[in-house]
Symmetry: C2
Subunit: 246 residues, 2 copies
């Protein structure tokens, strides 16, 4: 056995998990990616298992929950500085199923004890974010084969209840987009009303009427029109907007 | 020692908690009560401690999280059939403080072991509801002295971070009231626009303009005007509305 295998084996000892992490509670991150009319989601694929999953992890005993969400996302995907928002705790009994983790462990050629930390019932706190996927290049961690953007309307088979977690995140995003728009930091400094409408249409999955969309956005009182620069084509160019800083 | 003391002592044995409940995760319920321009909150007071707290509890090992929220509320206050909504998980390290529970145990004349289930770090899932407080009469459980409605603007000293939990619940309610209005089942079958405005003004803590409030509510497409009954005074009476059932 080489050193790397031995490290991996140590990492999966149940005692190590029990010393380091809070029991029974996980974090899963739904990282949605938007760019030019398409919406994607970040998924990990585990080695030798054909299992796809949301990037997730556990909370250290001396760590704030929200910090753990940031850290696990970075540990598992190398993505940093992403504005994560809690949206729901998934805590139904029926989500408990130790088999996928047994498969992952077996995929690594590891034997496991019956009451291993990872095989007990877990509740999971769902976090979500919306980023520009062309600006966020994920890197898989040592547990996963791949870490890639997938089309939302063509998902591979997912672990446990991760499909429901994604559906709930998307529902939350659609409801909360007006309020979270600035926080997601997704638009450039200046943008047109058409840029913004394209984002909304992609997230909502439906076409919107230009006039009523514009009225609604202006009523939110979060947009400021930017003075046009003096250029020959200026009178033909659409208005540019920026977010009002609080 | 009489039988009741002995029962209570058994109930606080750490082994019993560990067998029955998931470790490290609690539930706290922010039950807001509305009636005629006033907003109240339901608090428990613990015996012999002068400590006030939100009604809360733990999740059984074979119980869904959302069911646990309903059950703990009923166990601790006798309130049933209340529409509870998850709103946030409070998981900062700094909320961890075993002293209030040591005080509660001491108030009962109980000694405790150092690593008792109740004295470890807890994260808590916050749930909230909005009810008519004249229709919800709470009854304290065996752990608490009192279970009463308190004015939101005159709160007693609260345990741990319960004041912040209430503030966050109120912030969520204010943001989400449009969407949760029907679910809270707070209005009578038929109501006037003034009744609805009174609810909003009380929750938001500010006066609203009648015309813009009416326009906003009608734009939500959740209200249906009820045909007036033929009475002598009908032409003077305000319109009645009802919620559109989905």
């Amino acid at each position: 056995m080489n050193d790397t295998m031995s490290d991996k084996k140590n990492m999966l000892q149940t005692d190590d998990f029990e010393k380091m992490f809070l029991p029974g509670l996980a974090i899963d991150a739904v990282i949605l990616g938007f760019h030019e009319n398409s919406l994607k989601i970040l998924l990990l694929e585990y080695e030798n298992t054909n299992l796809f999953a949301l990037p997730g992890g556990f909370i250290k005993k001396d760590e704030n929950l929200n910090d753990a969400a940031m850290r696990t996302l970075q540990d598992r995907t190398s993505l940093k500085n992403i504005y994560l928002e809690q949206f729901y705790v998934f805590g139904d009994i029926e989500r408990y199923d130790p088999r996928p983790l047994q498969t992952i462990m077996a995929g690594k050629g590891l034997t496991y004890v019956k009451d291993h930390f990872l095989l007990k019932r877990f509740l999971t706190v769902g976090y979500y974010a919306l980023v520009d996927y062309t600006k966020a290049t994920p890197i898989p961690d040592m547990l996963s084969d791949k870490c890639d953007w997938h089309d939302l309307d063509n998902l591979p088979p997912l672990m446990l209840d991760h499909k429901q977690i994604i559906a709930k995140a998307l529902e939350t995003l659609r409801t909360d987009l007006d309020q979270k728009l600035i926080g997601f930091n997704l638009m450039p400094e200046n943008f047109t009303m058409a840029d913004l409408q394209s984002l909304y249409e992609t997230v909502l999955g439906e076409k919107l009427l230009r006039t009523s969309f514009q009225r609604k956005m202006l009523n939110l009182k979060i947009l400021k029109r930017v003075d046009k620069k003096y250029t020959g084509a200026a009178h033909k160019a659409p208005y540019l907007y920026t977010f009002i800083k609080k």
